[in-house]
Subunit: 177 residues, 4 copies
């Protein structure tokens, strides 16, 4: 059981990261902080003659790192009631990888994985974070990944997450069931 | 009544653009194609001493263009069951503008506007696009903008949207009620 | 192509009925007004020795009437942001029919049908009716029925629905695609 | 702080009741099992001359019992991805009470209360129960009640809920924050 965590937050040691640390502590985990990489927005060329062309950024190197893992943890703060634009850009690019001859098994590989979502918001996230969870459900259904579980935490200022006992408990359970 | 359209799509003349054209034809509209601009992801520095610093990209110039308008139309294809990462990055940055001394009236200005959403997807968007609509609802509630109406269209290949009679009819009605 | 309409409203000639009439006019339709029948709440005896027992009400007679049809139209006003309790009681009882030796093919029969939902609400139904649509999606997924399309209309006082041009247009299209 | 629990389940000692017991143990609670009462569906007479008339059932007696309390806990199994028809019929009738001269302060009374929801389902409730939570959000927003928190539990056969450690932990916290 091999785990990669994909961090969508743009602040170091943010509440989402703290909560995710609770979930993965003691486990061997590959951590990918998307904020440290250059990932372009997708350019939708699905219907253009010639299709997609190679993009000169860090995206493929991250795909290469997640493919070997069995479990993916998507950890993102709730920005404007959704995942961060940083994480969204990463996921948008999957449309390209699904058509990339260099990754013929991308969808099959993703379909063999299990996914978890950890997300933290400051404005009533237990209600206003639900569309994000539903979006992830459709994302994972589409790519075939099994959506195992999710945690929503409530926090605003740095460290607030330590007050969310329910989220902390859930984090401790998440990968140990 | 002055209208700006904020396009989140990354393909020229895509189905979302065609549908939006139906909605705004004959009206004087300022069109902003986000794909033509450099807009960085937000770096969340809300809780950092010193706070946000100035970002050298095109974001502020677009804020300057939308502020004078009464109506904003957000037009985005559904990518992975949400708005495009391009549009999400633009909206994420509002968190910075809300704290930017150069834009002391940003929230009040947004709260005086009316918003419409036009979105098109290829995979059962009338169901799988609903979390996106709910996310926009929370976004507009937060910033204070009145969420007037939305259209979901179904299309995949270029031009498919012309087959979605319901979406076309709704587009023709949207801004004329 | 044979159609049954299941009406969940409790008011005669309500807006939901008017809108539904637009959808089915000129078509041969079996209309079932649940308010005219005695349908008990389910008593959950799935895990009780002996299981369910026969209930003396009109429920089975309605099941007998819908089973022969290819298309089911569920027409319900939005009461408290959901379907009417009247309609919910009817659907709850499906749990019993699925275990009823008198209806060994109930689920298969339902799985061969197509379903449409027509719903009308007075309090911002285009947003606040979305959880109801999502609930129907899960209902139909579970029983295997294909969820073809839905219409949300906005109306409060009797006849208001005639002002909702978008809903009327959609109703005229609904079963004619 | 005075608490009433409104049970919508139709099975004695069901998983929802067990989970709710965890939440209220040691607290003084008025428990109302809707299944033990006769509550008619609403007949929508809002727009009829004369309006609503008195209904001869147990509904008002239950309203009388909940009004004195500060906190309402709505405890319902997930039936067909929503609350039970039994509970829905109870809530639908609020439309009548809001117009009932015998209850001139009903809405104000409800608006002064805090609400919790406890719900248990067997088919992936952490995802498929979300529309129900969103529906409750709109219900409480409308009547003015503060929606404090909710728990979703996963269970199917009697007693299964004891395996849902996350739900049990949340139940123990729910009213003690």
């Amino acid at each position: 059981m091999s785990i990669a965590v994909i961090y969508g937050g743009t602040r170091e040691n943010g509440n989402t990261e703290i909560l995710t640390e609770q979930a993965v502590q003691g486990l061997s985990v590959e951590k990918i902080y998307l904020r440290n990489y250059d990932i372009h927005s997708i350019e939708d060329l699905r219907h253009t003659q010639g299709g997609f062309y190679e993009v000169d950024d860090d995206y493929n190197s991250i795909i290469d790192r997640i493919i070997p893992h069995d479990i993916l943890v998507f950890a993102t703060p709730i920005y404007w009631f959704g995942m961060s634009g940083t994480l969204k850009n990463f996921i948008d690019r999957w449309s390209q990888t699904m058509r990339d001859a260099s990754y013929p098994d991308f969808k099959n590989s993703m379909a063999a994985k299990k996914a978890y979502v950890i997300t933290v918001g400051g404005d009533n996230p237990y209600l206003k974070g639900l569309p994000l969870i539903q979006q992830f459900q459709y994302i994972f259904d589409f790519i075939g990944t099994s959506f195992e579980d999710y945690i929503i935490g409530e926090a605003n200022r740095p460290g607030d997450i330590f007050q969310d006992k329910k989220a902390l408990f859930s984090a401790n359970q998440l990968l140990r069931k």
